[in-house]
């Protein structure tokens, strides 16, 4: 296991470097600079000298390869550079926005797991029943609903019509403000988890070892507990891991809609304003989170299912 973890850790380095290179090249190719974004509204006129100074201050006068070399040299020292916009270290900017995104991601994944997994399980145990039909229709709908629209609909229903919850904002970071954005973000993974769990349980239910267990007279409760749950959990956990990464990435829309101060809204603002160091830092952080979560999932799967061996 230790060797596996070490290998995964080492694999992370080239992946992150490759991602950094891709982002760097993309932002070097696409037009628009931080200086030009300062007057994108037509109102805010910036004069030529100030624009030139900005480009000089942010190192745009160097060729791309020199800038990339400098960037990699910084990365090696775990320095993500300085934000053009805030003039603060990118690590500080990211740290400020990390916690709200983590809160939102964990809350939405919690919602998707707590609702999605039992729903899929129940549907699989009663295939063809009304519970199965209703939950799967719901799951397909949940997957197809655009997040922006769903978020807006929830704002309208739960804030404006029912008056139960605040429609937007971070408030004091309390759960009241977290409910709507996390559900809006969690509906799609919930639906996917329900479908995956159902498929996994159905597949295992027809497996030879389950038939054997039943033939040997094992009670249905024990079959579910020892064979179905444990085996399905590996598939479900893998899906959860993948969904975690997806949810972090998809938080962009929801954070903007709900004025949630997380990494997603930071990323959108930074792309719009060409704050390249922050875009690079935020994407690297999201990729790193994805890799870490999936490594953790692999480890968990190995602990649950002794047949899984990592060398």
């Amino acid at each position: 296991m230790a060797a596996f973890l070490l290998r995964r850790l080492l694999q992370t380095v080239p992946i992150l470097l490759a991602v950094a290179l891709i982002i760097f090249i993309l932002f070097s190719v696409i037009p628009g600079t931080f200086a030009s974004s300062m007057s994108d509204d037509g109102r805010s006129v910036i004069d030529v000298q100030v624009m030139e100074r900005m480009n000089k201050e942010f190192g745009f006068n160097d060729p791309v390869y020199v800038r990339f070399g400098k960037y990699v040299a910084q990365l090696v020292q775990l320095d993500l550079g300085t934000s053009f916009r805030t003039r603060q270290p990118v690590t500080k900017v990211l740290a400020e926005r990390m916690w709200p995104t983590l809160m939102l991601t964990f809350a939405s994944m919690l919602f998707s797991i707590v609702v999605g997994v039992p729903l899929g399980f129940i549907a699989a145990l009663r295939p063809g029943s009304w519970v199965d039909t209703v939950s799967m229709v719901g799951a397909v709908s949940g997957l197809s609903l655009p997040k922006f629209w769903l978020g807006l609909l929830m704002m309208y229903l739960f804030a404006l019509v029912l008056g139960w919850l605040p429609s937007f904002g971070y408030g004091d970071g309390s759960l009241r403000y977290l409910v709507l954005p996390s559900i809006a973000l969690g509906v799609a993974p919930m639906a996917l988890l329900a479908r995956t769990t159902r498929a996994a349980v159905l597949e295992i239910m027809n497996a030879d070892f389950v038939r054997t267990a039943r033939a040997k007279g094992m009670s249905e409760r024990k079959v579910v507990q020892w064979h179905l749950t444990r085996n399905a959990l590996v598939i479900v956990l893998t899906t959860i891991g993948l969904q975690f990464g997806t949810v972090i990435g998809q938080a962009v829309v929801i954070e903007k809609l709900f004025s949630w101060p997380g990494l997603g809204s930071l990323l959108v603002d930074s792309v719009t304003l060409r704050d390249i160091p922050v875009v690079q830092g935020a994407i690297l952080l999201i990729v790193l989170s994805f890799l870490v979560i999936n490594t953790l999932v692999d480890v968990l799967c190995a602990l649950i299912d002794p047949r899984i061996k990592y060398t």
Partner: protein, 529 residues
Amino acid sequence: MLKRLLITTAIALAIGGVAEAQTPRKGGTIRFTAPYGSSFANLDIHTSNRAQDEIWAKAIHRSLYNWDAAAGKPVLELAKSVEASGDGLTYTFKLRDDAYFHNGRKLSADDIIWTYNHLMDGGKAYPGARYVRMIKGAVDVEKGQAKTISGLRKIDDNTFEMTLTERIDPGFYFWTATTSIYPTGESQNEAFASNPIGLGPYKLAEYVPGSRLVAERWDKFYNTGKPYADKVAIMIMGEASARDVAFRNKEIDASILGPAQYVAYKNDPELSKGLLEVAEVYTRVMGMNPEFKPFADKRVRQAINYAIDADLIIKRLVKDKAYRATSWLPPTSPGFDKSVKPYPYDPEKAKKLLAEAGYPNGFEFEWTATSNESWGIPIAEAVIPMLEKVGIKAKIKPVEGSVLSEVVRKGEYQAFLWSLSTGPDPQAALKCFHSKTPQTACNYTLFKNEEVDKLLDEAGSTNDATKKVENLTKVNNIVFDEAPYWFFNYNKAVMAHQPWLKGLQPNATELAIQNFEEMWVDESSPAAK
């Protein structure tokens, strides 16, 4: 159009009048919005000139001048009086002696001089440098050839002298938040960017990046009795639909409306009672690049103006949330000529002009535009069939705002669609058409006209205010006739506000930017306590 504008202005003034007639109530929180998409840059307002950042800066900072929305001109803010020398180049400011920074220190002439020197730091890119550059010797500091601006001289703690390089009204140069006065040396501290110290009516209490900024009353603010509210909470809400729900849910006190919302709010018996409409000093235009051959001919540019039914687009697509443009300068400008009529919709005349210019079968051009609903692709899409009627084919090139800004400055376009600032200073706005103004500054259409150059030079050197305005009016009319742009509309900014929010100002330079000390909430506000 003018009649409508007068009615709107009357309504705006009436709203202001009603607010003043009532006794302002102390206490409560003003829950305002920053509606322009992105989060605030940082809390060092010298580093950003975006409207979004100026919204919070108005709560915390103050500049030498301020914008008087009712009078439509800059007025002294941190100075009690100013005297101009006979040659109109040197100004002596007597500072007010009751202004205190949020760290408790009293404002002095040193702070003003330090701030302007700081803005000219050649190693930093402060947008406010473009204004300070008008002071004699400021360029030397920028280039590192001098340590202090020679045109700034302290006379005593409350008095300083400013010598300019041109005969301009300094009020138009030193009122925006990007020239906010900082306490000497403070902004050098790293903590300043997250804990700004200003002279404004409110001091920073909390900032959640990407979500909100809260400021609380500064008890030593110089305007006695102001501010009224205990706190101002500014929510960063770029999504119009989310703002709509929050506004209807009474979670925010004001919201900037787009065309679609404008219609919905206007048709709602309750919401329509709280609409503030202002003709902002922006002109929406299609810029034509003379280096693209057909646009080098004035007749072609005029033909474009005749070929488009701008009134129809304003009515149907912009939902009347705009005023028809009748020149470059907006109607609030002293250089605006009320007698000038807009180009009428006349496709036959357009065809005739095109034929005379050698394009009887029209031509094809690429039109660079953003997705903005009021001055972007949706407008271009409505215009294209009209142009096709006279034989001109346009192909849209969609870009982002920052890209548009770049390609226009570099001249890498055939035509572009944008909203451009045409105020508040008519002299500065029209200087964009001086042949010596580079494309990278604001002469985006490479305008060149000897008569215009002469009139502008005269306007810049005369002390005679009447002659100056006469010259500027002539320039504005020549530009309109030369048609480097298709003159589309002047923005009508609309702010929806709750019935309990009072004291909003019809700020034509940018409606979302308000002096918070003028505003108050009555007891019916959910945040009245």
